[in-house]
């Protein structure tokens, strides 16, 4: 059955590729059908079906095609299908042919290539084909990021993404080549007992970690996700960075992992989580801020993943199960609420034409649906009960508390881990209070914000659907336990799939009650207020009779306290023009958080590489005499070496 569904999806994907440029309706229909097929197949595997495996009789590029859909790949494929489907529908209204006659058809074609190559990466069990599909989706993502390449900023973001991705791909070339050389074939599969393969995991960590956006390998991520069209940002942030996580999980499940790598993953996860959200607080660009939150959430996923690795290195402690379940569930959760937030940001951009938070404000009046969806996503990403983000963070906290009281190997890391995770949650909350408050509440800060309008159902529908998925995981976490447990078992066969644990059921019941009573209380208070009488007046701004929108608190001021704590790494730049004289003519104050990691660390390193390269390039200048000289010197050296070898 799974083979039929996947064949159906592949056929639909083929039609989608063919129809992308000239028949948008047909394209949308077949793309949704393909994703539906993929989703059904993944759910069939996740709900207890057998893993599916297929090997072709013929060879492609010298290797037979080897596909496999087990619970781990099905887990990520389901996320791909849901987020991909929502973004596909959204793109129809967000990037229509009427507005973008040239880039919209090209965008559809690259979108199809991206979806298809992501699915192939998830299914692939052959190193060579994996690498080809990986490169294909990297390129497709580049063309999607630079879909509207008229501005310099977009081109620079695309270029940075392409360069960074290829540094990662270089590591992966080395990884797969060395793996194939040592194993003797390109075919991939469980090889956990080959201890000599363990050092290769470092290469995989660098290559896949770059794609996942681990701090400090995240430098390409904020600008790429901020400058891409919003449906592409949703896809990049919701799915493609998770593919990096998938590959890390896949190869840590198949190959032996050195224990130092597990500790590195935990440390990198903690750094990504805390610093990702600290950088996010300093941003004024709505989408760039969301992009930094991707770094934070990848950090949370990696904390769980790293602790699970430590646990399995020490005889499979019980808290390792909680940690890996938390990491996997957070993959789904982050995919859902982050794509929801990016689509919401896209609607804001669509309605007002700006991503600059200091020019927005008061959008709730014109865009109630977008506001409601965005605030829901914000509460979910801040890890607030009763939504899905809390469920996975709760699982992770349970794992860390257990690890701490077990006094085992992981407890030294679990103590700071739990504290930093708590701080990350509070920081994320501060950040999203800022975003929601500044963008959607209060009064409009500029004319475009005042003229905003709600988008049509083509854009509202996907947001509502993603929001509903967030609420569903939050209110009924026990339903989602068995897919997570099956995916965890596919990662490490030592983890057995059991029924949902009792505390999870209790948490689900508490969430239901909390949601029900919260809504009832809100309704009751509203009725009470209506009964006693409601009058509208200007804001009581401590006696100012006419507060203006310009007097509202800004995003920069809101975050100022926290950014001053993190000034040692954020290095915020201040441009102030103080008012002078009795009648000051003009004064200004601007705060800006630069891409510190890129500008202070990576760029100097890149400059050194460039200088060395250009020094080497001086050897190549086109003078034939000099080349002949090199040849003579080379021959003399080889001769000398041969003589020296012969003499010994």
């Amino acid at each position: 059955m799974i083979a039929t569904l996947l064949a159906f999806a592949a056929a639909c994907a083929l039609v989608a590729h063919l129809s992308a440029t000239w028949a948008p309706r047909v394209w949308r229909l077949v793309t949704m059908a393909a994703l539906g097929g993929l989703l059904t197949a993944s759910l069939a595997v996740l709900c207890g079906g057998e893993a599916w495996e297929w090997r072709s009789a013929w060879a492609l590029g010298g290797e037979p095609i080897h596909l496999r859909l087990d619970a781990l790949s099905a887990f990520f494929a389901a996320l791909l299908a849901v987020v991909g489907g929502a973004s596909t529908i959204y793109s129809g209204s967000y990037w229509p042919d009427a507005k973008h006659p040239r880039s919209a058809p090209a965008g559809r074609l690259w979108w199809s290539v991206l979806l298809a190559s992501l699915a192939v990466v998830l299914l692939q069990s052959n190193g060579l084909h994996f690498l080809i599909a990986w490169e294909l989706f990297t390129l497709a993502a580049y063309f999607l990021i630079t879909l509207d390449r008229r501005t310099r900023e977009v081109r620079a973001a695309g270029w940075l993404y392409l360069a960074a991705s290829h540094v990662g791909t270089l590591c992966l070339f080395a990884f797969f080549a060395l793996l194939a050389a040592r194993v003797g074939e390109w075919d991939l599969g469980p090889l956990r007992d080959r201890a000599d393969l363990a050092p290769l995991f470092w290469l995989a960590l660098a290559g896949f970690g770059l794609k996942a956006g681990i701090f400090p390998l995240h430098v390409w991520l904020p600008s790429a996700h901020a400058n891409a069209p919003s449906h592409v940002s949703a896809m990049l942030s919701g799915v493609t960075i998770k593919i990096g996580v998938y590959a890390l999980l896949r190869f840590s499940g198949w190959l032996p992992v050195p224990e130092a790598a597990a500790w590195t993953i935990v440390a990198a996860g903690l750094a990504s989580a805390v610093l990702g959200v600290a950088f996010a607080l300093g941003q004024h660009d709505l989408k760039r801020l969301l992009a930094y939150h991707s770094v934070e959430n990848i950090g949370i996923i990696l904390i769980g993943f790293g602790f699970a690795l430590i646990a399995s290195a020490h005889g499979g402690a019980a808290w390792g199960r909680l940690a890996i379940a938390a990491a996997l569930l957070h993959v789904w959760n982050h995919g859902l609420f982050k794509s929801l937030l990016f689509l919401g940001a896209g609607s804001v951009l669509h309605a007002t034409g700006t991503r600059e938070m200091s020019r927005l404000g008061g959008l709730w009046r014109a865009m109630p649906w977008t506001t409601a969806c965005f605030v829901l996503g914000a509460a979910a990403i801040s890890g607030l009960p009763p939504l899905n983000g809390f469920v996975s963070e709760w699982l992770l906290f349970l794992g860390l508390f257990d690890a701490a009281s077990a006094h085992g190997a992981g407890s030294w890391a679990a103590l700071p881990g739990a504290v930093l995770l708590g701080m990350t949650g509070a920081l994320a909350l501060a950040c999203f209070v800022k975003v929601c408050g500044v963008v959607f509440l209060g009064l409009p800060r500029s004319a475009p914000a005042a003229r905003a309008h709600e988008p049509g159902w083509g854009m509202r529908g996907p947001m509502v659907a993603l929001g509903a998925a967030c609420v569903a995981i939050g209110l009924a976490p026990a339903w989602f336990y068995s897919p997570v447990a099956r995916a965890a078992a596919a990662w490490d066969p030592a983890l057995i799939v059991g029924p949902a644990p009792a505390p999870l059921l209790a948490l689900g019941a508490f969430h239901l009650a909390l949601a029900g009573i919260g809504i009832a209380a809100a309704a009751a208070l509203w009725r009470w207020v209506r009964r006693t009488g409601l009058r509208r007046a200007v804001t009581w701004d401590c006696g100012y009779s006419l507060p203006t929108p310009r007097m509202q608190y800004t995003a920069g001021s809101f975050a100022a306290i926290v950014t001053s704590w993190f000034a040692w790494i954020l290095r915020p730049a201040r441009h102030a023009l103080a008012p002078e004289g009795l009648f000051p003519a003009r004064a200004s104050h601007a705060v800006h958080t630069p891409e510190t990691v890129l500008e202070k660390w990576i760029a100097p390193a890149a400059r050194v590489v460039m200088e060395i390269s250009s020094a080497v390039r001086r050897l190549q200048h086109g003078r034939v005499q000099a080349y002949l000289f090199y040849l003579v010197v080379g021959i003399v050296l080889v001769t000398l070496a041969a003589f020296a070898g012969g003499a010994r």
Binding site: G422, A426, L441, A502, L525, W526, V529, R536, Y553, A559
Partner: protein, 283 residues
């Protein structure tokens, strides 16, 4: 009732007779009858957020055990839910404050969420201490075998967090009229009528909740017979309220730049308590 006691203690120290103990309830009843004036910039969330915040605080209170009786809702992991329910209340209050677009309330919300980062780190560290002591993640079990070696440190840390989270001097002044210097009170400037009553009730509920947490983290109440345990609990909560009143009377409000330092001190106290507990468990 606790704000009444605190006010009475403050008044006594200042040589006044002070308002009646149940003044808060008079205020609540009066506010409940009044109409509401809402800012023109605010959405219905301005009022609905208040209700959700109250429900979250009440839900957190229900998770606490009461002396010898475990909480009726106790389950493994409710300690974390407790922390995040308070975070939900904070999220709603801060957003309700930002609804009005008032610069003062923006300032208050910014301070509230920023200082909460340090306070939350201290609370998580404190809970981790209790968790390591009792090898449990449920408040009802974590608070039983208290009186570990680091208790004094933990109690001091929790007391500072209580002062900060409930906006008492030296972090905040619940009585001042200078909005520039406040945190919590300034966030509710634009609330009136029944929503304000709900906010006031929620705030005193939160004070009671933190006092209960503090007392039960220190005293091994469950080992005693229940009348003694309940008596001791009540007396200790009153003592905490008196201590808050005394602190308010005897100290001045801190400069804002020094608030993070004070909270970091609380965090470090909890951290030392944690290390003591961890070493004790390992030995």
């Amino acid at each position: 009732m606790l704000p009444g006691i605190i006010n009475r203690v403050k008044a006594r120290v200042a040589g006044r007779s002070g308002p009646p103990l149940l003044q808060l309830y008079h205020d609540l009843a009066r506010l409940g009858r009044k109409g509401v004036v809402m800012s023109m910039a605010a959405s219905p969330g301005h009022i609905l957020g208040v209700a959700v915040a109250w429900v979250a605080t009440a839900g957190a209170a229900l998770l606490l055990p009461l002396g010898p009786w475990a909480s009726p809702l106790a389950f493994r992991g409710d300690a974390i839910l407790f922390v995040y329910l308070l975070a939900l209340a904070r999220f709603c209050t801060a957003l309700a404050a930002l609804e009005t677009g008032s610069a003062f309330e923006g300032m208050g919300a910014a301070r509230e969420v920023s200082y909460a980062i340090l306070a939350e780190a201290a609370v998580i560290t404190g809970l981790l201490t209790l968790g390591v002591q009792s090898a449990s993640v449920s408040l009802s079990e974590m608070l039983i075998p208290s009186a570990g070696p680091g208790t004094t440190l933990l109690a001091l840390g929790f007391f500072v967090v209580l002062l900060a989270e409930n906006c008492r001097v030296p972090f905040d002044d619940p009585n001042t009229h200078l909005e520039l210097t406040m945190i919590h009170e300034v966030m509710v400037l634009d609330h009136s009528g029944p929503p304000l009553a709900v906010i006031l009730h929620g705030a005193s509920l939160k004070l009671l909740l933190f006092s209960l947490l503090l007392v039960q983290a220190v005293l091994p109440l469950s080992a005693w017979p229940w009348p003694a345990a309940i008596g001791a609990l009540a007396v200790s909560v009153l003592a905490v309220a008196a201590a808050v009143g005394l602190t308010e009377s005897l100290s001045a409000r801190l400069a804002f730049s020094r608030v993070p330092m004070m909270l970091t001190t609380a965090f470090l106290l909890c951290l030392f308590a944690l290390l003591v507990a961890w070493q004790g468990g390992a030995a």
